[in-house]
Amino acid sequence: MARILVIEDDPATADHIVASLQAHGHVTTHVADGALGLERATREPFDAATLDRMLPGCDGLSVVEALRARRISLPVLMISALGDVDERIAGLRAGGDDYLVKPFAPEEMAMRIEVLLRRREDPANTATLQVGDLVIDLLRREVTVAGQPVRLLHMEFRLLEFLVRHAGETLSRRIIFEQVWGYYFDPGANLINVHIARLRKKLDRPDRPSAIVTVKGEGYRFDAD
């Protein structure tokens, strides 16, 4: 359970964000005003925030800039109807941690919040990641399943690392593409499906179900058990 600050002026959008975050077991605080949001974020210990890019009065960019100027490292997911790459760059440069374009599926938004929360918890200098009998040696870039080495290509390794770091979370194909490959466009669902299929082929064992689970209509989840 995490405390999430929702700064959004559109009541319908705010309603969807709040409902989706609460469905994921988070506690939400909603404010419709940028200045008020900045004040609450400064005073109260939130774990993450969603921030509308275009707010009346103090816009989203100014809010996140003010937060960073006050050395508040609260993870911020910026949400905007402006999908231009320049707008995305501006949002991230101002100090946003992720950028989501309206309209969005509330589930997609919740996933991104989970990714931000996990990133905060994750010790960056971990040398190995272990989930069940899967071990990823981040320094040597080696992977073993039940002690057996698995040879992965560069991007396969990065894909697995991302899935494992977010084990238990459902990740949309778009999030996977953005976070693993670093490009911000829709490459089509099939492209990510085939990469996942290839990874499964290398990791899976015939006697047990795949650790990478397809979540119908949403994306993929790496199961810890």
Partner: protein, 451 residues
């Protein structure tokens, strides 16, 4: 704005230079005609004056009696202190009788003629021959060296001033052409930047109010109108993004929540899921359309950087190789030259992704897709070649239009907007996009001019 060197060839073609040269030519012809007239008149006057002197002397000698004629000639010579006068009396057979002039030739009486200089004897002469009453020939001559000198000087002045005028006119033409030409170059550079989407720029206008300023002012008015229209289109796009996509997303959210209800009827869940699939298709097309509009309205060059070609194409191949393998298509990277390209790497990646996605989709199982690059003096060419059915020549232009789906595209997923996105990205970069026949299959070529 880069400063380009002005070449003489460009200067020579300017209207200012041509007008100055034409004006200079007319001026030079006028000056030369005037000086020529002065030359002709003064030469004629000097000759007439010499002839008058010769005729006065001739009259005086003719009036002498035949007996005293030799004596009068000797006396005239003695009195000539200038040293310019020459006299001679010749017998009928041409033998010299008296005088300081020896010319062996026949003369027409009473018609003065010029005789060239004889080194050691005399300078250039004007000679008048008259017949003495006794039948001998009297030659009266005058040295015309000063006149010849004067003529030569006038001629020299004529040629010198003509040449000076030509040089001055050419120089003035070059100088006068430089400033307008520089301004035209500035206008050109600005118009190129505006054509690339920088609608915030305006044509430079000086305080002179000349014809170039009039032209720049007119163009600026036009750009303001274009900027207004583009802003309007972008405004409509943003409004569409905000006002239509957001409620659609809300509908999707509500459908999701309806599906998640614990007591949901399985039939309505199935219907809701089908509605969500349709909604996703609408949103996907919406997203692609907005993406194209953003790219077309955008003049952004902020993300432009020069990158090596090979790593970009390598990572594209790596990204699409599993998709190709899944479709039973061999994806191959052709030989890549050691070249760089100035682009927005994210956008170029997106464009080639779309091309690879299409090529894999439209290639039959067992087919081949080749991503290649080549370098020539004109720049870099990036090619994606497949072994699909290709496009008939009349279909190629249509394929770049929005929502175009080939006649064989039924059953192949896609919004029909992929190539339009590619075209918009290519246009944004100032590159060119060509669709050709790979016999069999389609070859798509992106040409980037040399940096």
């Amino acid at each position: 704005m880069p400063i380009e060197r002005l070449h003489l060839g460009q200067i020579r073609r300017t209207s200012t230079f041509r007008l100055t040269a034409l004006f200079g030519l007319v001026f030079a012809v006028g000056v030369i005609a005037l000086l020529g007239l002065i030359y002709g008149l003064s030469a004629r006057e000097l000759t007439l004056r010499t002839d008058r002197i010769l005729r006065v002397e001739a009259r005086r000698l003719r009036a002498s009696s035949p007996e005293t004629l030799p004596e009068r000639i000797t006396s005239a010579l003695a009195h000539s202190t200038s040293g310019l006068n020459y006299f001679a009396l010749q017998s009928r057979s041409g033998e010299p009788i008296v005088g300081n002039l020896t010319i062996v030739r026949s003369f027409r009486f009473d018609h003065p003629v010029n005789i060239a200089a004889q080194p050691g004897a005399h300078g250039p002469l004007r000679v008048l021959a008259i017949e003495a009453p006794t039948g001998e020939t009297i030659l009266i001559a005058r040295d015309i060296a000063p006149i010849v000198d004067l003529r030569r000087r006038i001629l020299e002045i004529l040629i010198g001033s003509g040449m000076a005028i030509v040089v001055l006119v050419l120089g003035a033409g070059v100088l006068l052409s430089l400033a307008p030409l520089r301004r035209v170059r500035d206008l050109q550079a600005t118009s190129r930047a505006i054509a690339a989407g920088r609608f915030d720029l305006r044509m430079p206008v000086s305080t002179r109010g000349d014809e170039l300023d009039l032209f720049a002012g007119t163009v600026n008015t036009m750009i303001e109108e274009v900027e207004r229209v583009v802003a309007q289109v972008k405004g409509v796009t943003d409004a569409v993004a905000h006002d239509l996509r957001t409620p659609l997303a809300h509908v999707r959210g509500q459908l999701e929540r309806a599906i998640a209800l614990p007591d949901a009827d399985p039939r309505s869940v199935a219907l809701n899921r089908a509605a969500m699939v349709d909604l996703d298709l609408v949103l996907e097309r919406f997203g692609a359309l907005l993406r194209i509009s953003q790219l077309e309205a955008s003049g952004r060059q902020a993300g432009f950087t020069t990158i090596p070609l090979a790593p970009l194409l390598d990572s594209l191949c790596e990204l699409y190789e599993p998709l190709a393998e899944d479709a039973g298509v061999a994806l191959r990277l052709g030989p890549i030259p050691d070249a760089t390209i100035r682009c927005d790497p994210h956008l170029l990646f997106e464009a080639i992704s779309n091309l690879l996605d299409n090529a894999i989709k439209f290639s039959p199982s067992g087919g081949e897709v080749v991503l290649g690059a080549s370098l020539d003096p004109e720049g870099v060419s990036l090619t994606v070649r497949d072994t699909g059915r290709g496009l008939a020549p009349h279909e190629r232009a249509a394929a770049l239009r929005r929502f175009y789906r080939g006649v064989d595209a039924a059953g192949i997923p896609g919004s029909g907007l992929g190539l339009s996105i590619v075209a918009a990205i290519v246009h944004l970069h100032g590159f060119t996009l060509e669709l050709g026949d790979a016999a069999p299959g389609l070859i798509v070529r992106i040409r980037a001019p040399a940096a």
